[in-house]
């Protein structure tokens, strides 16, 4: 009687491998192989799937916060690289179509179609670039006038400054509450507040990046990290939890940064309001 090796029995255990019925019959008839199989299966039965530590709904955001400053330049392929700039949409569409056509054509060995496709592709590309060159979307946006007579980016910046100043005020109050919370205590109200602020903060930060307000974006970024930490802390905090949280807020000089930025934005907003020829409604809200 020929026996089965350990490898065959391991594959059999995992439901893989050939001759499964042969192995099954053999195990019924061969005590040596049956003992080896029992040994393998009892070993593997001891290796339970480990319990993976739980990660909350905000985990993805936390990961993003950790890696976002370390993102390198992506290695784009040649198609993506050339699709940047004028005629981008036409380029991308053409590149995809061309790539598919080349694949199909080479499979079918139809060189005549390839030559025709190449000609069409070149003509389409040149046409795409030619047509798209005169359109200058950035210039169009810059020239577009807002209803009050200012430019749209200027209006957007003004709204953002007012809103962020207000947001920083609220954040400062929430952080102050945390810094002064009694221990051991319940910070669930502050956590709900922090959660609301977190959502708003993300939107303002993105807007700040879009309009080139780097320093505002950086403060909001620091604030976002602390807000995430507060949201994910246990609601019933011990003295040690709260102390650790306070130390991290202190270490980042967060309250200081928030106050300074808030004052700066309020000053900028005041200067703009004073300089405006026509009166306008303030974007500041009271909360």
């Amino acid at each position: 009687m020929s026996h089965y090796g350990e490898g065959d029995l391991i594959l059999y255990y995992y439901g893989e491998g050939r001759r499964r019925h042969d192995i099954e019959r053999h195990l019924d008839a061969c005590p040596a192989c049956a003992a080896t199989y029992r040994d393998i299966s009892s070993t593997l039965a001891m290796v339970d799937v480990p319990a993976v530590p739980e990660r909350g709904d905000q985990y993805g955001l936390e990961v993003w916060q950790r890696i976002r400053h370390r993102l390198p330049e992506p290695q784009q392929d040649v198609w993506s690289k050339h699709s940047a700039g004028p005629g981008r949409a036409a380029w991308t569409e053409l590149a995809t179509w061309w790539r598919r056509l080349v694949e199909r054509t080479f499979r079918a060995d139809r060189l005549a179609i390839l030559a025709a496709a190449a000609t069409i592709a070149i003509v389409a590309f040149v046409a795409g670039r030619f047509w798209s060159t005169p359109s200058k979307p950035a210039a169009t946006i810059t020239a577009t006038q807002a209803p009050d007579g200012g430019s749209l980016p200027g209006l957007r910046q003004r709204i953002l400054i007012g809103s962020v100043a207000d947001h920083l005020d609220r954040s400062e109050r929430m952080l102050t509450d945390i810094m002064n919370a009694s221990v051991p205590g319940d910070i669930s109200a502050e956590q709900r507040w922090a959660e609301d602020l977190l959502t708003t903060s993300r939107l303002y930060r993105q807007d700040a990046v879009d309009i080139g307000e780097r320093s505002v974006a950086n403060v909001l970024d620091d604030l976002e990290r602390s807000l995430i930490e507060i949201v994910h802390s246990p609601s019933q905090v011990t003295a040690a939890d709260l102390d650790a949280m306070r130390r991290r807020i202190d270490a980042a000089a967060l309250l200081f940064k928030v106050r300074v930025m808030s004052n700066e934005l309020q000053e900028r907003e005041g200067t703009r309001s004073a300089g405006d020829a026509s009166p306008r409604t303030s974007t500041r809200k009271t909360s």
């Binding site: 350990e6 490898g7 391991i10 594959l11 995992y14 893989e16 040994d39 393998i40 009892s42 070993t43 593997l44 001891m46 290796v47 339970d48 799937v49 480990p50 993976v52 530590p53 990660r55 985990y59 993805g60 955001l61 936390e62 990961v63 993003w64 950790r66 890696i67 976002r68 370390r70 993102l71 390198p72 330049e73 992506p74 290695q75 784009q76 392929d77 993506s80 699709s83 940047a84 993105q206």
Partner: protein
């Protein structure tokens, strides 16, 4: 996020849109962490693997074939990042100690060798984790993919960039080492359980 939306996000990420990549990170982080934890068996290492995997994915997005499944592609990156991290750790360990990792068989029991205690799941789990820690990075990765993730030998080969034969032998070597390392535990546990079994 439906399939069309996911494809659009992926396309934007491939063109260097960091917000689109952020959406991918937020969507896949928990899955990535689960695999990384199973591969490394350690929370801190798993966190390192999660970050490194996304950074690597971002660098290689241009090479990602848009018709492929992003999740499958990312899965391979995570598996390989885990192997790299385990290799680096092992190299540091070997350099520091100048000797191989001890096996579970060499490991002293937590308490007096009471068979009933050894049979307890916590003790078994501790020994198993130790035995898994003694596997080579590739063996551990192949074993994790087969045993925990339920991947076939072919899939393991594709994930780790190995031939089918190499993938199969990595799993075989892992099981062989585990059998050897857990033999004392199995014998003691069996001896401890024997009286109970005889009472049935």
């Amino acid at each position: 996020m439906d399939a069309a939306e996911a494809a659009a996000v992926l396309a934007r990420a491939r063109q260097g849109d960091s917000d689109a990549f952020r959406a991918l990170v937020e969507r896949h982080s928990r899955t990535v962490f689960r695999l990384a934890f199973r591969m490394t068996g350690n929370e801190q290492d798993a966190e390192d693997v999660v970050q490194e995997s996304f950074l690597r994915a971002y660098r290689q997005l241009g090479r990602f074939e848009s018709r492929a499944n992003f999740g499958t592609w990312l899965y391979r990156i995570v598996a390989n990042c885990s192997v790299d991290l385990m290799r680096a750790k092992q190299a540091r360990h070997d350099q520091a100690r100048g000797e191989p990792l001890e096996t579970a068989a060499d490991m002293p029991a937590a308490d007096t060798p009471d068979p009933q205690r050894l049979a307890e799941s916590a003790e078994i789990s501790r020994r198993v984790q130790h035995a898994l820690g003694a596997l080579s990075p590739l063996e551990r990765a192949a074993f994790t993919l087969r045993h925990y993730e339920g991947r076939s030998i072919d899939e393991i080969g594709r994930t780790l960039g190995l031939g089918t034969s190499a993938a199969k032998h990595s799993v075989f070597r892992a099981v062989k080492k585990l059998r050897h390392a857990l033999q004392p535990l199995r014998s003691l546990a069996n001896r401890g359980l024997a009286p109970q079994e005889s009472q049935r």
